[in-house]
Structures are given as structure tokens and as C-alpha cells.
């Protein structure tokens, strides 16, 4: 999973790159993962369409 690799990335000194990951709500973690996936898979999509899709996703995660 994308967010898993993000959370596990570490710097040379051993600090986590996604340092605050553990303190972030599961909803926000899921939203980050979905946003990155959306952006990667839909490069051709225009900004307003991605925004709409994201708003829909966030509403799905936070009910």
C-alpha cells in the first residue's frame, strides 16, 4: 500500500520521513493514499475533476 511505504520510509539517521504519520487519523491516512493514487493514475484529468473526485472521497471516509 502506498501509505504504508510512506509511513515506513526512513532517513539515513533512522527518523521516519512521514514522522507524524502515527499521529494522523485513519481517515486522513486513507485520504492521502487515495489522493496520491488519483494523481498518479489520472495525469490527464483536469484539476477541477480531481478536486470533485477528492471531495467525494473525503465525504465517503468521513460520514
Amino acid at each position: 500500500m502506498v501509505y504504508f511505504t510512506l509511513a515506513e520510509r526512513k532517513t539515513d539517521s533512522g527518523d521516519r520521513v512521514g514522522g507524524r504519520w502515527g499521529q494522523t487519523s485513519p481517515e486522513a491516512q486513507a485520504v492521502v493514499a487515495e489522493t496520491l493514487r488519483l494523481e498518479r493514475d489520472n495525469l490527464h484529468l483536469e484539476r477541477p475533476r480531481i478536486r470533485k473526485e477528492l471531495v467525494r472521497l473525503i465525504k465517503n471516509h468521513v460520514r
Binding site: 502506498v2 532517513t11 527518523d15 489522493t35 498518479r40 473525503i58 465525504k59
Partner: protein, 687 residues
Amino acid sequence: MIFKSLHLKNFRQYSGEQTLTFSSSKDRNVTVVYGANGAGKTALLNAFTWVLYGTHTPAFEHPDDLINHGAWAGAKPGEEVEARVTLTFEDGDQTYTVERVSSARKDGDGKRIPLRDGDMSLHFIDESGRDHVRENPERAVRQILPERLHSFFFFDGERIEKLASEDAFSEIEDAIKTILGLEIIERSIRHLDDAGQELGGEAAEVGSDEDRRLNEDLRQTRVKLEELRGERDQISNENRARRSEIDRIYAELAGRKEAQELQMRREALEAELRQAEEEITKSKRSIAGEISRRGHLAFIEGLANAVGTKVDERRTRGEIPSEIKLQLIQDLLSEGQCICGRELSEGSDPYSCVEDWKSRAGDGQAEDAWIEVGAQARFVYGDRDRLYEYLHETAGELERYRARKRSISEQLDEIKVNLGSIDSEEIRKLEQHRERLGEELHRATMRLGGIENEHKALESQRTDIERELEKAEAKSEKAKLAKRRVAVAREARTLLQETYDGVTAEVRANLDGRIAGIFAGTSYKGYEARLTEGFQLRLTKSVDGTATDVPRSSGESQILSLSFVGAIADYARERSENHAGGDVLENFSGGIYPIVMDSPFGKLDTSYQRRIADVIPKLAPQVIVMVSKSQGLGAVQEVLSPRVGKQILIQHSTPDPAKAETIELPTGTHPFVLYDGGTEWARIEDI
């Protein structure tokens, strides 16, 4: 990516068809291409950038004029003449052939009717030997080596030193972000911002009047921030184009006999000017830092005097040091026995006698503190004097650098006047154009500084509004839900921003180590190369254990910049070996890239030429280096020869028999510049 061969057809000076093949040996990874000035070395470098990306380097004059003049002159009316470049390379297990063509038809009056304008194709041969055509060749090439990185792998060796200048940080930062494929995160942050704004609007609709007002303030702040970012990006792009155009003008002036000397002098002075400006900035920062750390010492005189007087008074009164310590009296009384052996029982005369000493005894801790304060008060004067001395020295240095800057500016003005007075309309026009670009660049850079400040202020304003919105209490369930959604969008955005900053810093630190390693292998002065947190290349030396910036010569800057190029190539190689795929952060999977450089030894003295010749083979698994006769023989040849796997000559013609010359290589004497009754051409000769 390892280059196998480059085929040219009627491309610039190269008439007819010419093929170069390159060394792909691991131990002898360097291909040296010898060519006289004007023979076609820069055209060769640009054959690579054109075939792969359709772009050219700043020093490439008349980039639209690609078709060989001789081939065009010899064409019959109605005939199509093409300039074609074909590059064959290996990447992973596949062999690719990329080709680009521009062509024109000659009409009855000899005029050009453009037909093909850089049309590109990409083929690859699979493991079974079958040939395939890639649908989107531009995209496929960019996937192998991103365009934003290509200037680090194909470059004009003399101009690469600019990477070490103060204003190259954005180029370096861009390269690092490209290596990581961080554009995806950049765009994702923007999308989350958009979504947060839309959700904020919905929350405001079901919220209080205060929510609506704050949301409107937030919307306006965002609009201003977007406008500023747009303006910043536009100015940055325009500045890049201006710098590239100035580079082109410089190359053109340096190529004209009547302007050459002045132009070379100008470039040397501009390098000195940059150095002086960096030193001025450094001195100013140092003065500001010292004042912020130790500036209070200047105002401490009264206080230190008062403390000294108090300590002296106590000494005079005999209070410090005291004859007897309070702790001893207390111990004797509690143990019930005096040091003379008498019993000390409460109410007895001996007890009262010892107890009397309490008022005369000193408190050990207070006494120590007084003594220390007294000593510190004396040290304060020493610290203050040292601060004054340091400020005095640094201010003197600052003034010397300012004077140096004024003197260089005057010399540059004089060069400008001298160039303007050369009897050549073309040089005058180039000079006027350069001056206009320089003024525009200056104004634009000032504006960028202003934008940076406005941006910071607006960002902080936005954070404040967001906090206020979070604090405002939601009245209904609907409003609470809307608020939670906004909060999640913001939380996700913050998390991505922090990840983005963290990953960028991680790669910067990684490259910093690699640069230091490559540079250490070439330096004989004990200097250390660093990539700072502000993405600037620096050269430092250790003074009393502290890394201090040192002034750089042109040669040092060039080695520093080459070390950065080598670090990028090394990082890309390692990334390709460890790339597991699947992580969206690792959008760019890295790769093995050759480096192609034109004239890296130009203005340097022999010792720097040796050092650069020593570092070149270590930069990448394959290096193609183009040199003139004066640059490529002697010391350079001696150092490079154990690593050279292939030598190629660009032979070219001259209409002047007096200019014909030969070149002495270990393989024998070869024709280098040939007299050919007026026809001009260049051809490739393997040796």
C-alpha cells in the same frame, strides 16, 4: 542507458552520413572526441540533446538552421533535403534506436519550404530480436531519462561551473525533486488544498456568520497565494530563458575574433563579481549573527561595573572569603561536640559560643556564586573586546569586498563600452540585447524577493484563519460533520507537506555525502564540498573544527559542479538497482546514464586540467568528452589515457591553406584541419 552509436546525416557541419561508435567498456569507459574550434564539437553535443528531447544547449547558435549548408546548396529545385540524427543505445535488456528528422524542399527560386520539423521515432528490439515501434516516443525517452535532468548529463563543460553559483539553487532543487518524482506530491498537496476549500465552503453554508466571514477571508487569501505562486513560476521561467539567452549571446561574442578577448575577460570578471557578492552576503550574515548572539555585551558595562564593586566591597568587609563556613557550625551543633572536644548541649555556654559564629560564618554556595560572578564580570570585558575586534575586522573585510565589487563593476562597464565601440553592427546589437536582458533579470530578481516575503506573510495569515475556524464551535450535527471533513482534508495536506519536506531533505543529505566523497577524491587542499540545506553547492575548510566557506577559483567551481553531476548519476544508478516499484514516491526509477560534455578543460591551468581529467572517468559508467587539440593533449591525455576506450577525430576543412594542421596522437600523426579549395565540411574519423 549506454550509447552504442550516433549516426548523423547532413546535420549542421556534418555533410553526408557520418557514424560515431562509443566505448562501452567498464574499465575504459571514456570516449574522447578531438575537434578544432568550430569543427563541430558543440554540434555533436547538440545532436544528442536534439535527438532525445528536441532541445539545444545555450551555446548552440542558430538552432533552427540544422540542415547542412553544402547539402542544401547542392540540392536541385524540388528536392527534399533532410537533417537526421539516429542514436542507438541500450537500456536494461533492450536496445533502442531513437531518430529525429527535420527537412525542407527547395522550390524553384531556391527558397526553403519546411516539410518535417523534428519528427521523432523510437524503436526497440526485444529479447527475441523483433523490432517494435514505441507509440509515444517523447514520453518513452522522458521515462528513461527525465528532461529536467538532461542538462546534468549533456553539458558545456566550461559553463557547468555555474551550478556552483549562489543563484543555481532552484536548478539543483528541481533536479532533486525530479529524481524523486516529487511532482506527484506537489500536485497532490494542491488538490487537497482545492478539496479543503470546497469543503470549507460547504461547512460555511451550514455554519455561523462568523464561519462564513472567516471562510471568505480564507478563500481570498488562497486566491492571493495562488496568484503569487503563478507570478513566481512565470518570473522563474522567464529568468531561466533570460539566463539561457545571455549564455547564447556570450558564446556568440566569444566566437567572434574582435570581441573574443573582451568577452573572455568579462566572463572571468563576472565570476569574480559573483565571488565578491557571495563574500559580502556572508560577511553581512556573520555580522548580524554575532550581534544577535553577543550584541548584549556592548550594553553591559554599567552592570558589570556594579557587580565588580559589590564583590570588592564584600572582600573589603572580609565577607568573602569568610573565616569559617556556616555548614561547619551547623554540623558541630547537630553532632553536639566542638572541634576542641567539649560537649555542646543546647543552652550551655559552649553551645552559645559556637552558635555565635553563625552570624559571622559565610554561606559556601553564596560565597562561590559571588566569586564566580566577580570573575565573570571581568570576563565580560574580554568577551566584549573580542566582539568589537571581530566586528571591526569583519566590517573591514566587508568594505574590502565592496571596494572589490565596485572595481569589478567599473571594469565590466569599461568592457561594455569597448564592446559597444567595436565597428560591427552585429556585436553592438548583441551587446544591447545582453544589456536589456541583464536589466530585466535584475528587476525580476528583485520582484522575486518581494514575492517571497508576501508569500510568507500570506501563509501565516492563512494558518491563523484556519486555526480560528477550527476553534469556532459547531452548533448542529450537520455543521459538525462538515467541519470534520474540512479538518481531515487539512490534516492530509499537512501530512503530505511534511512528507514532501522530509523526503527532499533526505535526498539532499544523501547527495551531500556523495558530493563530498567525489570531491575529496580530487582535492589536494583539504577542502570539503557540501550541498547545503538551501540546495547550494559550497566549498568549505575546517577552521578550529568549524566548517568555513572558502573562495573558489573557476577550476574549483568546475570540479564542485562536476562532483554534483557525478553524485546525481551515482544516485540514479543506485536507485535503479534498488528500485522495487509500487511506491508512488518512487515515480522515477533511476537508471544508468552516460555523461556527454563539451570542452571541460577550456580556461583552466594544467593542475586543474589534471584534476578534472582524473575525476571525469569516475562520474558515470560511460563518458563522452569533446576536446580541442590544445585542451586534449599533454597533461589531460596523460591522466585520461588509462581510461580511454575510444578516440574519435572530427576532421574539418578550411578555405585557408595556411590554417591546415595535423594532430599528434599515440596512434600517429593525423590530418586535423584540411585545406579543401573553399568547400566547408566536417567528418568523423575513428582512430
